[in-house]
């Protein structure tokens, strides 16, 4: 379940293989796809600031659209990015109560990441420190860092693009968001091990 950063194949590759097999008729593989992509999609949805129920509905809609349009998706390998785009768009559409589909251009930027007050109380001391540093980043960087943290290194660039970040904003180079996280953590003597 947990992505291994050392894996040569990222989640996107594994998801693409499972989806391609499903399209070829291996029905079981869709369930593997759901297992692979759910943590990334959940965090992509939740980072938009919507309720858990809204995020769940958005994910369900994305999966159902994927099944309905399985034959017309040209690049099975890009299925992870496709799902992230749809989940983000659906989360905004549902949160806004809009009946129409909304275009990618209409999707606003993610808000500053929030944690429920109860969730904050269960953080370890170290996680509390990390949370403060994450909160000091720009909302776009917070969203990007949160989502890619649930994927593997080869996935970062595609995920950033799916979230609406400019091409080249991350991967294979560190990019500004990861660099800022590194600097803010590095400047905290309490964080260094």
């Amino acid at each position: 379940m947990t992505p291994t950063p050392t894996a040569s194949d990222g989640l996107g590759t594994l998801a693409g293989q499972a989806f391609a097999a499903y399209v070829r008729g291996d029905r079981q593989r869709l369930s593997e796809l759901v297992d692979i992509v759910t943590p990334v999609l959940w965090n992509a949805a939740r980072s938009q600031g919507a309720s858990p129920a809204t995020c769940e509905d958005a994910m369900q809609t994305a999966f159902l659209q994927l099944v309905a349009r399985a034959d017309s998706i040209n690049e099975p390998a890009a299925v992870l990015g496709w799902l992230v785009v749809v989940v983000k768009r659906e989360t905004w559409r549902l949160a806004r109560g809009s009946r129409r589909e909304i275009g990618v251009e209409d999707v606003p930027e993610a808000p500053t990441q929030q944690l429920d007050p109860e969730a904050q109380t269960i953080l370890t001391e170290r996680q509390r420190v990390l949370w403060q540093h994450i909160s000091s980043l720009s909302p776009r960087c917070q969203e990007l860092i949160r989502v890619i943290a649930f994927a593997d290194r080869p996935d970062y660039a595609a995920l950033a693009t799916s979230l609406g970040m400019p091409v080249g904003s991350i991967g294979p180079t560190r990019g500004r968001c990861l660099q800022k996280l590194r600097l803010t953590l590095g400047s905290d003597t309490g964080w260094a091990v």
């Binding site: 959940w42 939740r46 159902l64 969730a119 953080l123 996680q127 994450i134 890619i148 294979p172 660099q179």
Partner: protein, 177 residues
């Protein structure tokens, strides 16, 4: 000094792992979310009719506390689902196959489950979909079927009638066994 134009290194990977642990801890994926997604997908992909969960009866009483539970006979549960075209009753208990390999310890994750079922259609194909994949059985002339060696956890059933290819398949809600 590091720069944003350098390659991502182990230091960044460690930072991201901490970020992942933070959000996984503070805002975890709901435990049964993937099962609900898979169920919704199956219903749509198969154009299936969703059966209703009618009743859930505990056939054998469990022990009142943990100490009793260890010596109680195998708890057996039973559930009935109904749809317009078909009804299904399933009951389940610890599979005999678990005993063969068991070393006398408390029921661990290796324990397997046997499902005994009855469906109103003889000759129906009943597919049990679990975390391990799926397993099929065909109901006999009386509608009885057995699915053995299943894992504990979420399961749903898919009932199709090979004699009536035009009928919509029936899918049951997911239950825990």
């Amino acid at each position: 000094m590091s720069s944003h134009s350098e390659a991502i290194d182990e230091h960044d990977v460690v930072n991201l792992r901490s970020v992942r642990d933070l959000f996984a801890h503070a805002d975890p994926v709901p435990s049964d979310l993937t099962e609900r997604m898979k169920f919704a997908i199956s219903v749509q992909a198969l154009h299936a009719e969703v059966a209703e969960l009618i009743d859930s009866a505990l056939l054998v009483t469990r022990g009142r506390d943990a100490a009793d539970a260890a010596v109680e006979p195998t708890p057996t549960d039973s559930v009935t689902f109904t749809a317009a075209s078909v009804s299904v009753m399933v009951s389940w208990g610890v599979s005999d196959t678990s005993d063969a390999s068991g070393t006398g310890g408390p029921s661990g994750t290796d324990e397997r489950v046997r499902v005994d079922g009855w469906v109103t259609t003889p000759g129906a194909q009943v597919e049990a979909v679990t975390a391990d994949g799926s397993r099929s059985a065909t109901s006999d002339a009386n509608g009885r079927f057995v699915l053995d060696d299943l894992p504990h956890g979420p399961i749903h059933f898919l009932v199709t009638d090979p004699a009536n290819q035009g009928d919509r398949p029936v899918i049951t809600p997911t239950i825990q066994i």
